[in-house]
Symmetry: C2
Subunit: 770 residues, 2 copies
Amino acid sequence: MKKYLKTDEWNIIEEGFDPDRLRASESIFSLGNGRLGQRGNFEEAYTEDSLQGSYVGGITYADRTRVGWWKNGYPSFFSRVPNAPNWSGIYVRLIDEELDLAQWEVEQFTRRLDMKEGISYRDMTVESPKGHKLHIHVEHVNSMAQQNLCLIRYRVTSVNYKGKISLVPYINGDVTYERSNFNEKMWNILKAETRSDHAYIWAQVKREDSQLTCALTYELLRNGKPVTGTQIKIEKEKLTGFSAGADVKPGDEVTLLKYSAIVSTLYHDRRKLVEQAVKEAREARQIGWNSLLEAHRKVWQEIWDTTDVVIEGDPEAQQGIHFNIFQLYQSYRGEDPRLNIGAKGFTGEKYGGNTQWNTELCCVPFFLLSNPKEIVKNLLLYRYNQLPKAIENAEKLGFTHGAALYPMVTSNGEECHNEWEITFEEIHRNNIIAYAIDQYTVMTGSTSYVAKYGLEVLIAISRFWSQRVSFSQTKQQYVLLGVTGPNEYENNVNNNWYTNYSCVQCLKKTIEYIGLTAQKYPDEYARTCRITGFEISETEHWQEIIDKMYLPEDTEQGIFLQQEGYLDKVLDTVESIPAEERPVNQHWSWDRILRSCFIKQSDVLLGMYLYYYHFDKETVRRNFHFYEPRTLHESSLSPFVHSILAARIGETEKAYDLFLRATRLDLDDYNNEVHQGLHITSMAGSWLAIVQGFAQMQIRKNNTLRFSPIIPEKWTAYSFYMYFGGCMIQVRVTQSDITIHLIEGEQLSVMLYDQIYTLEAGKELKSEKK
Amino acid sequence: MKKYLKTDEWNIIEEGFDPDRLRASESIFSLGNGRLGQRGNFEEAYTEDSLQGSYVGGITYADRTRVGWWKNGYPSFFSRVPNAPNWSGIYVRLIDEELDLAQWEVEQFTRRLDMKEGISYRDMTVESPKGHKLHIHVEHVNSMAQQNLCLIRYRVTSVNYKGKISLVPYINGDVTYERSNFNEKMWNILKAETRSDHAYIWAQVKREDSQLTCALTYELLRNGKPVTGTQIKIEKEKLTGFSAGADVKPGDEVTLLKYSAIVSTLYHDRRKLVEQAVKEAREARQIGWNSLLEAHRKVWQEIWDTTDVVIEGDPEAQQGIHFNIFQLYQSYRGEDPRLNIGAKGFTGEKYGGNTQWNTELCCVPFFLLSNPKEIVKNLLLYRYNQLPKAIENAEKLGFTHGAALYPMVTSNGEECHNEWEITFEEIHRNNIIAYAIDQYTVMTGSTSYVAKYGLEVLIAISRFWSQRVSFSQTKQQYVLLGVTGPNEYENNVNNNWYTNYSCVQCLKKTIEYIGLTAQKYPDEYARTCRITGFEISETEHWQEIIDKMYLPEDTEQGIFLQQEGYLDKVLDTVESIPAEERPVNQHWSWDRILRSCFIKQSDVLLGMYLYYYHFDKETVRRNFHFYEPRTLHESSLSPFVHSILAARIGETEKAYDLFLRATRLDLDDYNNEVHQGLHITSMAGSWLAIVQGFAQMQIRKNNTLRFSPIIPEKWTAYSFYMYFGGCMIQVRVTQSDITIHLIEGEQLSVMLYDQIYTLEAGKELKSEKK
């Protein structure tokens, strides 16, 4: 855990420049707008270690699979969102010196990420080896309003320098990708051109159809007044831009406004790509900095107006939850079913920008509960559209008859991960795809999606399960052999409780929605049967599996087992591990991790979180007390789930600790890995930990919304907005009472603890806290 | 299974040229002499697919580890015996054409590998695109007498060509290694020089100290008479040699004798490497072809005189066993404790020429029983010398206090394999190292090795086991969690019966040899305690493990379990798998293999083979009948073990089928992989299948040698030589009787079936077959 950022409710602040934490800060200060994003790299040159990264959603490169020992079924390629041409660069040159924070003295260095307005600020005073001192002020924005625009205001004030200062806005197509499997460059530069008022790079992803163009325009001001006529055009093979300068004396300032437009073939015809980018860059300059920023701020204001979570009395938690919501919306806007949310968003190379099951586990309920737009429908359609690929994935593993195995890691639906114990065995991922369809149906109250799209997916997933189970003669029950649960710290186990349990739930829900669709949407049902070749007789086998699934448990202790045989392990607790060996995945050999009792995240508890309505509080308590002390939380998906369950069993302070860990995972770098990028998808979990955890929001029988809030001792109050069944409410919990306000909608039944109330439009329900 | 070679007792014969089987034939026709070896590549140019490979034992390249997903504990390098500069090349040029079997017409193509004399012959008639016809005859020898020499006689007879024929003997240092992880070239060429009477390449392995020099001399004859004075020197950056020609008319022949000497820093000072190679190449030319061949033939004669196995009435089996013994001695001579036997010998790149546990499983008993020299002592010393590295390997995985884990794959003792389920978990390999020490002691009757060297190894291995087990509270027994057995078609299992059982045997034997050494060799014992820090109190924990080890079994069926939970699988038999899906490792995805009941080789049966004296025939029979039908034999280590056990339970024809599979694994290419190289180490298994299988040689209580032979119906007789306790005997079994002849030694007790006899020097024991 490395903590170096200042605590502030709406800002992330770093003071002082430390090259050793540069990669971490580059992750933390990432900027994005859902369509494009970038790490918090310096605009100026920096010749020491740094991970330069700018990414455009939906643009992927097929990196040849790298593997030590090939296994049948491995994919040929690993998809990666390539590092795009760097559109943010600005060199700063004096007469014969160039600003480089690795070489110059840096004083009074401050970065500030304003999360309310989505602007990154940087201020510093720098001194060249020759003693020239400058003050630099930078503002950097990826416009949320016009999502193709990156806007930078770069101001240099001379402290003691007299002479020409040149500012060089450029686009550099000669970029590398650190995690490339074979050190390949990912782009072909189709054209690099600098004209009188703009420059651009037109590039194509190697071996792919995808193209993008980055174009730039700029303005140069001296002491607030435009400087013209002094520019030099720069046009190299892979780099274009301008050098524009002005003479200064101490006290003078030179300001560059750089307008970059990034357009891709995802939204534009390749033949008009250059034209479009140049047009947008030119228009941006015309509209001007202030108006562009105004529009950008407005979008953020709208987001916060309905999504803000207020925590009173705990600035650290408040900062964390702001950071998480901020980063989520920077990564994903939910407008395009072709896009999804990379586990690291646009903040690093790890996981290649691909989609994982994190999306369904964390982001689906977050967006479903916190946003009225059809964001989640797009997330579901993403999977629906990839169903044919999921069927192909299953076929590669020997499954037949339209069985689908959704990929562990993907961009276009094809599996691209290549560890057999995960790729082939971490099959529980299929469950969350089905679960999300059910959640969507429950939360929105609309059954048309499942009838029209969801059922096809459910049938294909149920077919997978029905083929993947086998019948054990010994047990006279169905078993699931050779699986890896969400706890990836055990591999290739038999009868992982969570996998077996969720397999049964998938089958049950499918049968349920088959019934519903057949009855309520006979045409959709007929169409689905025709497309999938589904016959109702298939459900007989499914029902048999439901009835006879083996679920490992220890009846004596009243706990479900992580997997069969778990109790043969030496049952230590995490406390017994020396601090210097944590996180264990950075210190222990893999076999030692596997055979230890320590788990990355508890699968049993995950099942109890997802199917909360199946388990009573005592059962949760027993399992929580058994697994939580053995859980390392070395998965970002772990702490929020555990926090929610701790809240459920009334262990408020434990819930708080875990909440803080979930919420400040990256800000406090619990697992010593933030330099690789942020845990974007799991950020949604911290919001869930408030709503489903502290507020104990649950959907009970007959789709009744229920709250039974608790509040950490440290907090004065917390409040959040939530959507359910077409209504929007605001919930506020203090140490003494709970207020629920129906903001949108006419009427809503709400259960508070064990009493049912009816909320009326615009009215408030106020009740004492239990 | 691809069968295309003619059956002949002493020869491997291929008729007709088929490019599709070229790689397979290159493996089959490999030549070596224990110090160097090479695939059966064409000497002349061949511009289509081929795997050119020449290797020098003990010279290794540290290839950077390639892995998709790094795990703590993985080694940084994978050792590979690099492809040495090609010392066998001879271009054949007409006035403006060059012989290339990929482009020319090939008629009457025949290769023959004479295994009795160790000479490879090739004859063919070829026609150039211009219609020039030549007859080619090639003889190729890697001298067993002077192990630095490769000798080639290359004769070209003109059928219809008139003009100059140039023969170009060369050494080419510009070689590649197909399996190189990152396409790196492995050699730096230090010097490439051609002088008037010799040429050489002096090369150094990149990033290593190892160097070698290949030097060549030659003679050119036309119609049997020397041709001189026409040579052209060739000296390129990485290629040296000569072009030497003669004018011919139809019926004339030109013969090139190429003498290559290959010397390395393994045996020579680097400063004298060039000098030495040139000297040896020159001397070879001086000695001349006939004398060199005579010396070479004599070595083979000596080997066959004591190692030949005769099988009467079954030329296929006879050919197979000759091939196996021949290839074994081509790969390893046992004279240098720094060398070991690569799983593929010098016949391919797979496994990188490294040492695996195959050596101890197959080659140790073979050499121990079939050769009077101290070959096996050198194999044991190889491991003894690598003990410090084995301790380091264990330390990397968190073990302490001098515990050793021998590597799965190594050249210098450092683990170089990088699959977690094997590298970290296939720990049974430790057992066979201990077992070999015991075998050596039993077979030779000498305890000095174990006292002086072996005990240190045994203690280190027992320490490993004692730390690797854990105590299960549930079972109240010791368990071994997270292991992979010899059956690599299950990974990361709990309580693999073989691993648990052999762990116990290791501990027992160690305690036994501690007692023996303490009593009989007190000085050695004291020294060993001092060096290892061993204290006798350590054995208390070992004894507890021996007493309380969990061994999974099914008492109802009377079988031991492959691993805990094995019976939960769907228990099909191999017959149920469609032929086109075999071998399954080339057709099924890995997870499907893992969760199926099908095993690569049966671990339980392996245990019953190694510890045959622990299990009665009925127990073996039950386990054999349970596991054999589920065994795929997709490991070369499998069929011979199963054959021996089938023989033991009297199932002669099953034993025969499995023996044939073991013996002709490569000749008949059962697993469709011979193109990658030969299964050198497991070849020893086919000899064991005769001696320990059909003849049922066992060492009984009080070290009594026992035979209870059976003989396949097809065979008239079989006979073999064997060494035991300082004596050499010959055993001959016919359908009716058994003859045992004491060839060396004064007296030997032998048990035949259940009767004990005393063999006298030079006398024969003859008895009826039961």
